[in-house]
Assembly symmetry: C2
């Protein structure tokens, strides 16, 4: 297994990446006591829960199985997790394990952050999106009807174990959604990786093992670096939100779960690139390459027709990057060079939002 | 105003204690931007919200008014706070102000800990209980039907401002409930203060200003010291839970709000003292003085008749101090000397729970 480190002082933790699965020796140093609760969903648990339980014979392993999908990332389902933890007499020494994609990881992490004022948790991401992005960095939480990820906490896991063999059971649309976040790293701060992605997108879509391993490793290394420098998003971490302000608005407006998060982010990145081009910051050629790469990943590049400019602006006004009433967006000065800026033309933003 | 400091490195903050009320100059250093939201309840807001708004002319001050009472310290009411914050377009620079007692402070603090993954908040406690205990130390959260304070976070305020003049509007039973927590400090680690309380209980019940000021200051100093040494309750902070494991069981079993928290803690301290006596740790005389002081504060000393031993044990089994399935209690080795221990006789505990 390869190991990366998220350097956060006393909250530092390793990311293990491999294709051999997990075993007890790997996880034991990160489990506090006998009590282990695996939080998973109805899709992933039948595939991987028993296997995980079997490799942890030294522990009392139980499970909490959530419904699958972004529409269930709610405070109501969180309450069901709390109830299950209490029924299982879980105490402060319990270790939770998130076994699933981004929704499972975000919710299990928030449950860990808030059950009895905080218990340990481990991330075992099983989707590409969770492996390259959401399992690393400690963003946890749930959605609110009025805005995505509006309730949550920064709360770091004890470790992240990425078992790439789990991608063999991943649906194609989920794989593509994960590629959106991979492309994000290239666009926001790694132009060489962007070029590599242009050359290797077909291999990734074909689930070539070496290509996937390389993309996951490079994405996690980027994420770990940014999070270590700015854990609570006071500055540069906001760059990781490239495409997300637009994307969150789409997810919220269309109803959580109607669009996959990665699909909405893909469209959001096209909109960010388009506004950057109109501002004169990004060349026409760079804009075209951005859209072409997202198309090559078989991801959408256009916002849904039913979304009006007004609806976009309304939902974007509660974005977490808003400061003193002013909207800030992650835009591009070049391929591989994102910036967080409020210095854009509102008219050009409206044109971008209106373009279909 | 007198000032105490809660020494927690970069999370350090002052406690201001006085009777002159708050003004803008005092609060301004602790408010991040223009947006200020006061979280209060239907009892306290009519008395103090307009006055607070008036002294903060440089800010956009709005309010969120909660129903009054422990029975409303729920995830459902938290969701109403989130909704109100989003409707008011609050961003990450917002500062929340908790104006009220323990329930308001715990909920406002948890909202601050979890809204957009964390915003600033200030504690303006208006009950004796909140002034001497719950506003200091960063314990925030809500209750669950299966256990008190089971959902929450450690999240420190920017500052605490104790305006003792607000006690003039406090109901008598609320004053007495606050005295339970004051007595707790004497019992758990300050024998001299216990003696002072024996001598000054009548003055406190008569709302003698100097006596109240002294009791508040000494309680906060104790709390600040313990919290600074052990912010997340890995060790000695658990001593502050003297009487609370029993008390939380009473509150949960009777229905939140039926007993005031301080009333339940008063009974819990009698039970802890009783078990300590039966263990041979506390003298008969010290036990009698404990019960006498709690009676002098006109607080209950007996658990409600309808609570069975089985119900007590069931509810105590999810206590946050349980470790590897083993219940731990705060007991007394002497007046002013609390200990966290699992080394008690289960038979004697059952006798204590059964005694009426």
């Amino acid at each position: 297994m390869e190991t990366l480190n998220v350097a956060l002082g006393e909250r530092s933790y390793p990311i293990f990446i491999g294709s051999e699965g997990v075993d007890q020796a790997l996880l034991a140093p990160y489990i506090r006591a006998r009590q282990v609760v695996v939080v998973s969903n109805t899709t992933v648990a039948p595939l991987y829960f028993e296997r995980l339980k079997d490799v942890l014979p030294a522990y009392d392993v139980s499970s909490i199985i959530l419904p699958d999908g972004e529409q269930h990332k709610t405070l109501e389902v969180m309450d069901q997790i709390y109830t299950a933890l209490l029924h299982q007499r879980c105490n402060r020494q319990v270790t939770l394990i998130a076994l699933g994609g981004g929704v499972v990881g975000d919710m299990c992490g928030f449950a860990a952050a808030t059950y009895q004022r905080g218990v340990d948790f481990i991330q075992l991401p099983t989707t590409l999106l969770a492996q390259v992005d959401s399992s690393v960095g400690g963003k946890t939480g749930v959605n609110h009807a009025l805005g995505k990820n509006m309730i949550g906490a920064f709360y770091q896991p004890q470790c992240v174990v990425i078992d790439t063999s789990t991608l063999s059971t991943l649906a194609d649309n989920q794989l593509r959604a994960g590629l959106a976040e991979v492309i994000k790293y290239g666009l926001m701060q790694d132009a060489d990786f962007f070029v590599w992605l242009e050359q290797n997108m077909a291999a990734l879509l074909n689930r070539d093992e070496a290509a996937l391993m390389y993309a996951i490793h490079r994405s996690c290394a980027c994420k770990a670096r940014v999070v270590a420098a700015d854990e609570k998003e006071a500055g540069q971490r906001a760059l990781l939100n490239l495409g997300h302000t637009f994307g969150h608005a789409i997810e919220t407006a269309m109803g959580y779960g109607a669009w996959l998060h990665g699909e909405a982010v893909a469209v959001g990145m096209c909109m960010a690139a388009n506004l950057s081009r109109q501002q004169g910051w990004l060349t026409e050629r760079a804009y075209q390459r951005t859209v072409a790469l997202i198309e090559a990943a078989q991801l959408p590049t256009q916002a849904p027709r039913e979304m009006t400019v007004e609806r976009f602006l309304e939902l974007m006004s509660v974005d977490k990057k808003v400061m003193d009433g002013q909207l800030r967006l992650v835009l591009l000065k070049a391929l591989g060079q994102g910036v967080v800026s409020h210095d854009f033309s509102m008219d050009l933003l409206k044109e971008t939002l209106a373009a279909r």
